[in-house]
Symmetry: C2
């Protein structure tokens, strides 16, 4: 069952696809562009991913896991005694403050689920993961609202170009959390 020639071929194609989306946008992703970026022949991408949707699902899943790991590694949400709103605002700040192409990439894949049902379960997973993580610190309804508000804040920053304001985020996120539950 061992792979013959290039055991990491599939993974390299996914990595290349993510780079392509980051550089040229989702519209720039094709079997050919991914193949070129991964330095493999066209037939290789069509063999491993029969449709573009398949490739997008793999890319979104990987990006999603990357974000989840980043959140987990951050630790700002783990301190049971800390300010939950402040922690979440900090996480968003670090995420939005870093390399913007990464954020755009992940949001673009995330939002692509609007029109591509195949991506929807992965997008839902992403939101659920964050909500579940927040549920350790507050109730499920509040957790879901925090995810929604965080999504909306990120969207405003990305769509309007207004710089991220961590103080504002902390303030309004805090309002969503019932007294004594954050």
């Amino acid at each position: 069952m061992a792979r013959r020639h290039d055991p990491e071929r599939r993974q390299r194609i996914i990595d290349a696809a993510i780079r392509v989306v980051g550089e040229k946008g989702l519209a720039g992703l094709s079997h050919r562009s991914a193949a070129a970026e991964a330095d493999v022949p066209l037939g290789s991408t069509t063999y491993h991913f029969k449709s573009l949707d398949e490739l997008m699902v793999a890319a979104l899943r990987q990006a999603s896991e990357g974000f989840a790991k980043a959140v987990a590694a951050h630790g700002a949400l783990d301190d049971p005694g800390g300010d939950l709103a402040a922690g979440l605002a900090r996480v968003l700040g670090d995420w939005l403050g870093g390399d913007r192409t990464g954020v755009e990439l992940e949001y673009e894949l995330y939002l692509a689920a609007l029109r591509r049902p195949a991506l929807r379960p992965v997008a839902a997973e992403w939101a659920d993961d964050l909500a579940e993580r927040l549920t350790r610190r507050t109730d499920p309804v509040t957790a879901r609202a925090l995810v929604a508000l965080a999504d909306g804040i990120c969207l405003q920053v990305l769509l309007t170009g207004v710089p991220y304001d961590e103080g504002y985020a902390r303030e309004v996120l805090g309002r969503v959390i019932p007294a004594g539950r954050g």
Copy 2:
């Protein structure tokens, strides 16, 4: 300066473009598809809109104005004595409860601004219009937060397929509004 033959040609192309996006998604919009839908020759769309971005801007602006008018006509946000959170939750419910393709269309155009700078001012206008309308009933910070949260809630509904819960929306929207300001 009067138009010669078909004075509403340009407008018909915009309407057709909106229908195309509604049916086939933004990726399905092209000079040709819009021309076919509007029943005009290809050259006509390229004449009135030199680039696809121009056509998208016109379509997004029109969709945005349509939404703004719907909100204005709804009236649930106008009653100075009413519950602001409940009114906003009701508006979202009516919007999401109606023809889903219209909602998807407007969100798709809205989110396309993520990668198309040309659309960004229009997207920002849209959000600002709603925020301004809310500012008549509360302070600007709260208004912006309400828009963000509403965006996030709509996103969750559209991306995960979870049905819209007006009671939940009203509850969490209410939390964002400081006591005595809604």
